[in-house]
Every structure is written in structure tokens, then in C-alpha cells.
């Protein structure tokens, strides 16, 4: 009885509290749902918030009254999203993913064809025959190493140098299963030796030796470069924009070299998403980030070498004209049909086999 009496006195407090929480949260959420009446563009891109922020500001200056928003996602996340959002299209532009990913997405009808003004300045292999996507940057893969811990005479110059037993437990590599960059490199290593036997076996052997020297597979590129800087490992393979950015912007004690026998160039593209709410504005943004001026800016500050062939070599930033990039031919068709199987084989038969 005592209990029941006591309860009646606190009951209102409890109910008031619950209803307060519910009502206030509902009100809050309505407040957040308020619509901005200005026309807006939504960009999905893995190029990093810094580059996106710069382009956003520049575009908004040129188009007063327009709001550019972006989501900084990995290309795999963008693929999943665009696929899910088909009936309720959110984004206008997908800026950044490898040509392989773009052509897969194009086949699944993700994109609105658009023929940019500079279409003819892009090499045949770096564009879709039906205008669904175009290449913007070409990204060389590089060997990256800790500048402090690797002696000048030991710096690996080419792919095969990485297999030297002296590097045992010295390599750390980005987990290749989930990375376009690493898949490209592993695929290129298999295709490099494909001609002799028409099988991936020689390539698998090479990857097995690489695994023998590998200390760890990291979860993403940032962790990879940080671990190199902290000397958990000394050498790795990664793409030039991220590496150069880590060296020059984040001041990590790293350095890189382009493999002397040639390196695969990953074509990085742009596309307009089918069903975009703002087709006109989307085209303007598409053109805007690929003007010579903005491509040079991306090259100078963010280390993305441009793909357009009509850009005056003299205008290219100094760092780019200094390095020599020898492209390694990659059979795109063969790569596309086989890479999934190769990666599955690698995941189950090669990964960590030496550590067990």
C-alpha cells in the first residue's frame, strides 16, 4: 500500500519526461527537415573534402544562389548508394572511381549520357563510347617508402625489387580485396606475365612472394601511410595523389618512386547520374571541374595528373613535369572478366599463407 501511494506522486513526472522527450525530438526533426529553396547540387566523390571544398567554393562563387553539397564516400560506397537510390535519385554527379567501376555502373544504367565540350581531347580508352562517363584524371601507382628508415642504396626501383627477401616483414599493403588501387596493381602483376602461359599462375607466384614479405594488410590508405610514417613497415604500393598529398600536405616522412618497368595508370572518371533533379546544373558542374584551369589546380594542389591531352605541358605543375611516368599496358577486357576470380583466389589461397 505504501508503495502504491508513493507511486502516484511520481507518476506525472515520468509521463511528463517521456512526452517531453518524444515531443521535443519530433519538433527537432521537423526543424531539420526544412527545405532550402535555393537550387542545389549533390556530389558523390572519394576525392577528399579538401579538394571538394575548394571546388564547391569556386563553383558557388561563379553561380550565386546555387548550393553545392557533397558526400565524401569511397567509390564502393558510391556504387551501392547510386544503385539503391535509383527510384529516389539524390546525387547529381559521381566524381571519382576507376574506369572499371564506371563501366560496370554504366552497364547497369546508372548514368545520363553527356558529351562534354572536351570529349575529343580524351583518349579512346578513357571514355565511354556512349558518353555515359569520361575520364578526368590518370592516376599512376607508385612504390612508397619511409624516407628516414630506407637507405638511399636500398630504395626499390621496380616491382620485382619488392620480392627481395631482405624486405621480409617490411612491407605493409592496403587490403587489396576492397581497394580499386590494389586490385589494379595485383591485376597488372598477373597480366604482366599472362602472355607467356595464358594462365594467372606466374602472377600468383609473384603475389605469393609478395605476401611472404608482407607484414600486414591495412584497412585503408590513410592507415597504411600513417603506419609507414611510424615505421611499422617500410615499403608499400599505393597511388600517387594520396602519397604526394601525404608527403606535401600532411608532411609525413615518406617518399615515392615510379616503377622503372612501367606502372598501371588508373583512369579516374566523372558521370552524371540518371534521373538527376538538376540536369542543367549538373552539366555545368561537370564542365566546371574539368576546365583547364581547374584541372591544373587539381594537379598542382592535389596531385591528380590530368587526362586531357590538350593541356599545355608547360603549364603543368613542376612536380609533375619532373617525374617520368612510363605507362604499363593493361588488357582491360581480360582484367574486367577475371579480376573477381583472381581476387577470390588470392583471398583464400595466398593471403597470409606464409604466416601460418
Amino acid at each position: 500500500m505504501l508503495k502504491l501511494l508513493a507511486l502516484t506522486s511520481i507518476k506525472p513526472l515520468v509521463f511528463r519526461l517521456i512526452s517531453l522527450i518524444v515531443i521535443s525530438s519530433v519538433l527537432f526533426s521537423f526543424a531539420t527537415c526544412k527545405k532550402d529553396s535555393r537550387p542545389s547540387l549533390l556530389i558523390y566523390s572519394p576525392h577528399g573534402t579538401e579538394l571538394l571544398e575548394v571546388m564547391k567554393t569556386r563553383f558557388e562563387e561563379k553561380h550565386p544562389g546555387v548550393v553545392v553539397r557533397f558526400l565524401d564516400l569511397s567509390s564502393q560506397e558510391i556504387y551501392d548508394r547510386v544503385n539503391l537510390e535509383r527510384a529516389n535519385v539524390q546525387a547529381d554527379i559521381w566524381w571519382g572511381a576507376s574506369a572499371i567501376t564506371f563501366s560496370k555502373a554504366a552497364e547497369e544504367d546508372f548514368f545520363e549520357p553527356y558529351h562534354p565540350t572536351w570529349a575529343e581531347k580524351i583518349p579512346e580508352i578513357a571514355r565511354d563510347s556512349q558518353d555515359r562517363w569520361y575520364g578526368t584524371f590518370q592516376t599512376p601507382e607508385v612504390i612508397v617508402y619511409n624516407q628516414v628508415a630506407v637507405k638511399q642504396e636500398d630504395i626499390p626501383k621496380d616491382w620485382d625489387d619488392l620480392l627481395d627477401p631482405k624486405w621480409k616483414e617490411r612491407l605493409i599493403i592496403r587490403d587489396p580485396v576492397r581497394s580499386d588501387t590494389m586490385r589494379t596493381i595485383f591485376g597488372a602483376m598477373i597480366l604482366r606475365q599472362w602472355q607467356t602461359s595464358q594462365t594467372p599462375d606466374a602472377g600468383y607466384d609473384w603475389l605469393r612472394k609478395l605476401d611472404a614479405n608482407t607484414r600486414e594488410y591495412t584497412v585503408d590508405g590513410t592507415v597504411l601511410l600513417q603506419k609507414l610514417a611510424r615505421q611499422e613497415g617500410l615499403i608499400s604500393l599505393w597511388d600517387l595523389p594520396d602519397v604526394a598529398s601525404a608527403i606535401n600536405r600532411q608532411k609525413l616522412p615518406l617518399s615515392f618512386c615510379i616503377p622503372s618497368s612501367g606502372t598501371p595508370l588508373v583512369i579516374d572518371g566523372i558521370a552524371i547520374i540518371k534521373g538527376t533533379p538538376q540536369p542543367k546544373l549538373a552539366q555545368e558542374f561537370y564542365e566546371f571541374v574539368t576546365t583547364e584551369e581547374n584541372l591544373l589546380l587539381a594537379a598542382r594542389d592535389f596531385y591528380h595528373p590530368p587526362l586531357r591531352t590538350d593541356i599545355d605541358k608547360a603549364k603543368l605543375p613542376e612536380w609533375l613535369s619532373k617525374i617520368e611516368i612510363k605507362p604499363m599496358p593493361v588488357d582491360q577486357a581480360l582484367y574486367k572478366t577475371n579480376i573477381q576470380d583472381w581476387m577470390r583466389y588470392w583471398d583464400s589461397q595466398i593471403r597470409n599463407q606464409n604466416n601460418r
Partner: protein
Amino acid sequence: MKDRPIFIFFLAIVFFVVIWGVLYPNFSILITSFQYKGVWSLANYQEIISSSLILRATWNSLWLSVLTVIGSAIIGGSMAMLFHFLEFPGRKLFSALAPLPLLMPPLIGVIAFIFLYGESGILSRLVVKLLSLSNPPWRLNGSGAILAVHIYSFYAYFYTFISTSLKQLDYSLLDAARTLGATHQQVFFRVLLPLLRPALIGASLLTFMNSMASFSAPYLFGGGTPMLTLQIFNAKVNSQWELAMAESMVLAVISLSALIWLTRNQKKTIGGSKGVSLTTRHAIESPVLKLLALFVGIITVIIILLPPLTLLLISFAQDGAWTMEILPPSYTLANYLKVFFSQSFLEPVYNSLVMSALAAGAALLFSLPASYLFTRTSFWGQKVLVILTMVPWALPGTVLGLSFAASFNQPKFFNAGLVLVGTFWILPIIYFLRILPLVLRSTQANLEQIDENLESASRSLGATFFYTLRKVTIPLILPGAISGTALAFATAMGEFVTSVIVYVPSSRPISIEIASQLRAFHLGNAAVYGVLLTIIIGISLIIGRRLATLESNYNI
């Protein structure tokens, strides 16, 4: 049965949520798992059975989860008992700090572990330096590391569940047993443990499912240890969507089997308060034992405190400067200033708060009638319904997110034309489904401990059903319900894996901001958000506990 219409109304709500939120999205997973390249087939399951990698991953997930439950139960349970029954110097402080790991969402906990125990982590380098080694004596990868993080993050479930239960226990039962000549051991095994059963089962379930579906730990330092969640993720990335779905089914079946097994022949009510007996806390007399208790307590507190302190330290460290030193060499306020004065700073914090509050509030409102239905009544299919509400918790976050998104991405017959993808609402709804079991479980555990006779008494004295519910039942279960809700709110605040799939600019949560700062090498800023998140979660849990104890004080 004049209450029938009310029960049917409750049941209708439960059915609605279960059908649209759970059955419909998950049915599509089941169907997809039996397809191969769009054709009906068993190929995915054949692949699972024939692939040594996937089998190994399944086995690893299973035994790691079992070990996590055992380890967490031993540590969390003994801490709860120790702090409840014994009095020694520092007890209050230790018991206040014990649930601290709950404040750190998995992603943040794992990151803190890496900076502390990782190969170039603070503690590892300290040990290397002190012992003049060339390499740290441990490596933070593989199953050992995953188990360590799991136990660190999950023992607090046992600790809080058992502590709450101990506070509401009817100690006259223990006294009675003692007077009747039972030994300490007999009281413990025959009286105390059976009384704590609902709490133990609740905590074991949450821990087991959490660790089966755990992603951040294996993802960030799995490396050589294949785990099921990781294989699902890899299969998805490798465009083997159907295989990923079949693997998810395997995971869900294991988690749900654990649920069925743990809740088998669960008693409807156990004892319940029949008399008044105050907890007797025995002060430790022997000075040696006193010192020992203090020593153990201090070590425990250090272990508990190190990860959050590491996070705090990094939030003040200068980005990029820390390479070979034990501790970051230079400190700055810049990280905080940058975060607090950036234009978009408040947005993710605000979004997370709103969405988590919505989800937790809805879960509380849903759990009160649902737990009543599940414990006070019995009807055909009840057990199935209980299990179904647990499904969103048992599935890995990625799969839940994708299946839900795929079910509500365009107008279809089954979703009644409701398109949620690309809207603000999809995240609060997914959060709601995901955290619902937390609230439901703790409410149910509470309800099971309460003597049904109290309600009968109220009814027989002429109170109506609703009057009894409002004045007797709800006030009695509210402590558990509120602490469960606070926990649910905390979980939603730190949610990452599901959010990343479906967030939109207006629902961008803190966890996404942290990941994005990390990706951009802004370790310091990420840590600032991590500290902020930890503080918010801490405040919400403290408020939850205050409300809960406020209530339970009236229950004596």
C-alpha cells in the same frame, strides 16, 4: 476477458513493426540467398560448405563470441558482485567507473586500442623502451586482439545488467536461505544465480549477438583471422551479393539459435519482492585483503581508463608530428578550435542527437506494451514474434542497412509505396529497429522479476486495466526500461556501419564525420569528435541512471 481489445491493439502494433520492419526486408535476404545469378539455386550454400575459408570464418566468429560471453560474464559479473556486496576504500569510485567502456562506440574503442596497444602505440612503445626490446611483446591483430576489445567493450553489459538486478533483488530470500543453514556457496548457486538469471540471459544475448555481428574490430585488426562479418563484406565488395546474403543467413541463424537456446523454458516470474530487506554490504576487515581489493580495483580502473584517456590525449596532439615518439611530442588546442569554429561543426552532432532521441523514444514507447505482451500473456506464435524483434540486432549492420534500403528504395506492393531511401527518416527508423532489442530485453527482464500478484491485487481492488498499467506495472518496470533506453540511445549515437550506407546530407551522423576526418589524416579532429561523442553518451547514461534510481527508490 474484457481486456481483449487492448491486447489486440498492442498486438497489432507489434505485428505492424515486425512485418514491415523485420519480416519484409529480411525475407528478401532469404530469397536472394537462394539465388545464383538470378536463378533459384543452392549454389551459395554449396560454396559456403565447400569453402574452407568461409567455414573457418564461421568457426572463428562462433568460438570468439562464446569466449567473449564467458570472459565478459566473469569480469562484469564479479565486478558487479564485488562492488555490491563488499565495502572497501574506493568502492564508490570504482563502481562509477566500471560501465565506462559503454561510452565508447565500437569504432572509437577500436581506434583507441590501436593507439594504445598497436604496434606503434603508446603502451607498446613504452614497454619496448623499458625492457629494451626490438619489437613489442604482443601484436594487436588476430583473434587475441579481437577478443580483448570485445571483452573490454561488452563486460559492461554484464556489469550494468547484474548491478541493476542486484539493486532490485529481494534479499529476504538470501537471508532466509542463510537462516535455514545454507552455506555461502549454496546461497550463491541455488538462490542468487537463479534470481539473476534474467539479467544473465539478457546480457549474454546482447554480448553474443554483438560479438557475432561485430565488424569494427575484425575489420580494423582482423588481418589473419577470417571472421564471418568480414567475409560478408568482402563478398559484397567483390560483387557476390547473393553469396553475401547466404553468409548473412548463416550468421543470423547462429545468433538466433543462441537466442532460442538461451531463452528456452524461461520462467514467467521468479520470486519477486515479498518483504523488505536492505542490502547488507560487508566491510572488508583484514588489512591485507583491503589492500588487495584496492590494488585489484586500481589496476582495473587503469585498464578501463586508458583507452578514453588515449583518445583525449590525441585530441590535443598536433597532426602529423607524432611518428617515432612514445607520446605525441607537441600539443595544441587547434583541433578543438578548428572543430568548434568550423561552420558545419554542429551539424553532425545535432543530427545524431535528433535521430538517436527519435529512435530511443520510439523504442521505449514500443517496448512497454510489447514486453507486457511477451511476458504477461501467451498466445500462439509468441515465441516467433519475440525472436523476430531480435533479428535486426542479430544481423550485421551492413546487411541490415542494405536489406532495409533495398526494400524501401522504390514504390512496391509490399512497402505500400513508401520510399525511404534518400530521406532523413530512413536512419531513425533503422536505428529504432536496431536498438529495439536493447530496450525490449531490459524491460522484459524487469517485468519477469516483478510479481504478477501486484497487478492481480490492483485489479482485484477494482482498478481498471489501464489504471493498473499506469500506476503499477509501468512504474515498476520503468527503471529497467529507462536504463535500457539510455543504453539504446548511446548505441544509436555511435552507430556507424548502417549509417554509412543510407545517410543523406541532412542526416549525416557524428560517426561518419569521424571516419571522414580520419580518412583525411585529421586524427586530432577525429579524436575531438570522439571525445565529444563519449561525453554525450556519458551524459545520457548518467541521466538514464539517475531516472532509474529515482524510480527504484520508490520501489522499496
